[in-house]
């Protein structure tokens, strides 16, 4: 019962946080956010190639965009953030093509199902638990818990 109510509350909160009405995009200046987003990615991708730095350019782009946001300090309905918010809301869509790619390796996966299952889930579980516990211990008692 309480669980259900919490879920409903979380859903409602989520709705307010990330929902983007179509009216938002009727305003042509909303597209600014998309241009800035792609611009940051482009600069990040170019930078890692120019410096031969073996790192994903998109993550560098994320840091650049964070810099822009820290400087501009937009609010949630600002032109700068509407397009990125829409994109984050539907980010799962973008992983589907890579997920379907497993068909190419289906024979290899089935032949090695046991070692792959043990390796994947075993290491995922201990990584999650260790990371969460270490963070919890260090965060304890800092008084800023949200």
């Amino acid at each position: 019962m309480r669980k259900e109510r919490n879920a409903a509350l979380a859903a409602g909160r989520n709705e307010r946080e990330v929902v983007v009405s179509t009216g938002d995009f009727a305003n042509p200046t909303r597209i600014v956010g998309l241009v800035v987003l792609l611009g940051c990615q482009l600069m990040g991708e170019v930078a890692v190639r120019l410096t031969a730095f073996d790192f994903p350019g998109a993550v560098v782009g994320m840091l650049l965009f964070l810099g822009v946001l820290r400087l501009v300090k937009p609010n949630l309905s600002s032109n700068l953030v509407v397009a990125p918010r829409l994109m984050l809301k539907h980010v799962n869509l973008l992983f589907i093509p890579a997920g379907v790619g497993i068909v190419v390796h289906v024979n290899r996966v089935l032949d090695n199902a046991w070692p792959l299952a043990v390796g994947l889930w075993g290491s995922w579980l201990v990584g999650l638990v260790v990371s969460g516990l270490v963070a919890t211990v260090l965060l304890r008692g800092d008084g800023t818990r949200p």
Partner: protein
Amino acid sequence: MTMLGFELQGRETWDWLQASPLLGVTLTFGGYAAGRWLHAKTGSPLFQPVLVAMVLIIPVLGISGVSYSEYLRGAGYISFWLGAATVALALPLHFEWHLIRKAALPVAAGVVAGSLVSVVAAVLFTEIGGGTRELQLTMSPKAATTPVSIALSTEIGGIPALTAALTILAGITGAVCGPWVLDRIGISDLRARGIAMGTVSHGIGTARALQQSQTEGAFSALCMGLSAIATSVIVPVALAWGLA
């Protein structure tokens, strides 16, 4: 075949469709829409949109004889936006900045400990399960986000495309089971939950964390980026030192 005076050109139309990006784009959006619908209908975390879409699209490709590269002709337009979505993850970081700047040490320690354990355990558990050395190496970078895990796998002699698939599965595992496991072991601090999700389940785990709360999502997004950096350092070093 003649029907009502028309000449139906089935073969030619099918050839056109297979070569057209329209097929891959429609299948991907269709699978995603079905996944979201099921997720909303059941409210169960088991029905992750990525998982549902895979389960629907893969048999369709198999039955219709459309190869993965033909599917990618359209689906590639969709996965292209993954880079821009990674950039967009700066958004929750910005809005939760006041919490993040105070948590630098727990974030760094959580990511480094989680990534180290994850890499060593990936090799160890794959070996225990009877996997070859090649398979162990293929598994080792799977906690990092896809572009990084693929690059690392190539560098250390794994099978890059299989690493990509394992990375996606690690993400889906996080989205489906992550919050449940964290509840079981009593981790309720939203920041710690985000740190754990981002460290081992990258973007797909972060998408789930963002659904839970903006704070959890922000920490997850940050740690997904940091985990990519940590894993890039840890994998070659752990192999060189014989830790894995």
